[in-house]
């Protein structure tokens, strides 16, 4: 089964599928020595609140385009790196994975940096929102104003990735 490198949907995330996706490319090239993975999980607490569960929603076609764009940005900055990034939507319970990322590259430094860069950029520009259901209420979480062309935000993601 072919796994898309950019993915979004309600199904539980399978990190092994993402690893396989970047590894397929890796084997084809035969030159990669590292695969780095990241899983974002639903925490049971946030800002002093006891969280019961989250609901994620996305503007799906634009989210996929944002993931594609992030993968292209990685290709510009770390030309040898391959990225797979999937985000889940719908109700997610505590401990569920909301986002999964796998990066492959010839050397570990680029794979680690690219992986960190991807999660920073997902948080900056992917049109995805989480609604937090906590003890006593619920609230939409609002983070960054998404602007893919904001060079400062992109530079900040790169700075964090290479720190």
């Amino acid at each position: 089964m072919t796994v898309q490198l950019s993915g979004l949907g309600p199904a539980p995330l399978a990190l092994d599928a993402l690893v396989a996706a970047v590894s397929d490319e890796q084997h084809a090239r035969g030159r990669d020595g590292a695969v780095v993975t990241f899983l974002g999980l639903v925490r049971n607490h946030n800002q002093g609140r006891r969280v019961h569960y989250l609901e994620y929603e996305a503007y799906a076609p634009l989210a996929i385009k944002a993931f594609d764009r992030i993968r292209e940005e990685v290709a510009e900055r770390w030309p040898s790196a391959i990225v797979a990034v999937h985000h889940r939507v719908g109700r997610l319970d505590i401990g569920d994975a909301s986002v999964a990322i796998a990066t492959a590259s010839p050397h570990r430094a680029d794979a680690f940096a690219a992986c960190r860069y991807v999660i920073e950029r997902v948080k900056q520009i992917a049109p995805i929102w989480k609604r937090e259901y906590f003890e006593g209420g619920d609230v939409w979480i609002e983070g960054a104003t998404a602007d893919p062309d904001d060079a400062k935000a992109r530079a900040e993601a790169e700075r964090v990735a290479c720190a």
């Binding site: 994620y56 503007y59 985000h87 986002v99 997902v122 992917a126 049109p127 929102w129 939409w140 983070g143």
Partner: protein, 81 residues
């Protein structure tokens, strides 16, 4: 001309709808659509400085012109991950 408006997260809650059809004059921009909507749903106005906008499933600026049948989306600050 008629455009489709898509609203997400808290903007959707404020307007009480995820998708609306609205008529705008020829030459209207994304901003025209937003201002009309904010007039209709005053709770939206506070988001004017923090929203992102998209036109036909691509990020766009407020001054982008809209055409008949376009899909205009208003996105509150994002919180994926």
């Amino acid at each position: 001309m008629r455009v489709t408006v898509r609203l997400f997260a808290r903007l959707r809650d404020i307007a009480g709808s995820a998708e609306l059809a609205r008529d705008v004059p020829s030459g209207a921009t994304v901003k025209t659509v937003w201002r009309d909507l904010a007039g209709e749903f005053p709770g939206l106005a506070e988001y004017e400085r923090s929203i992102s906008t998209a036109l036909n499933e691509d990020y766009a600026r407020m001054d982008a012109e809209v055409q008949e049948g376009d899909e205009v989306a208003f996105l509150p600050p994002v919180s994926g991950g």
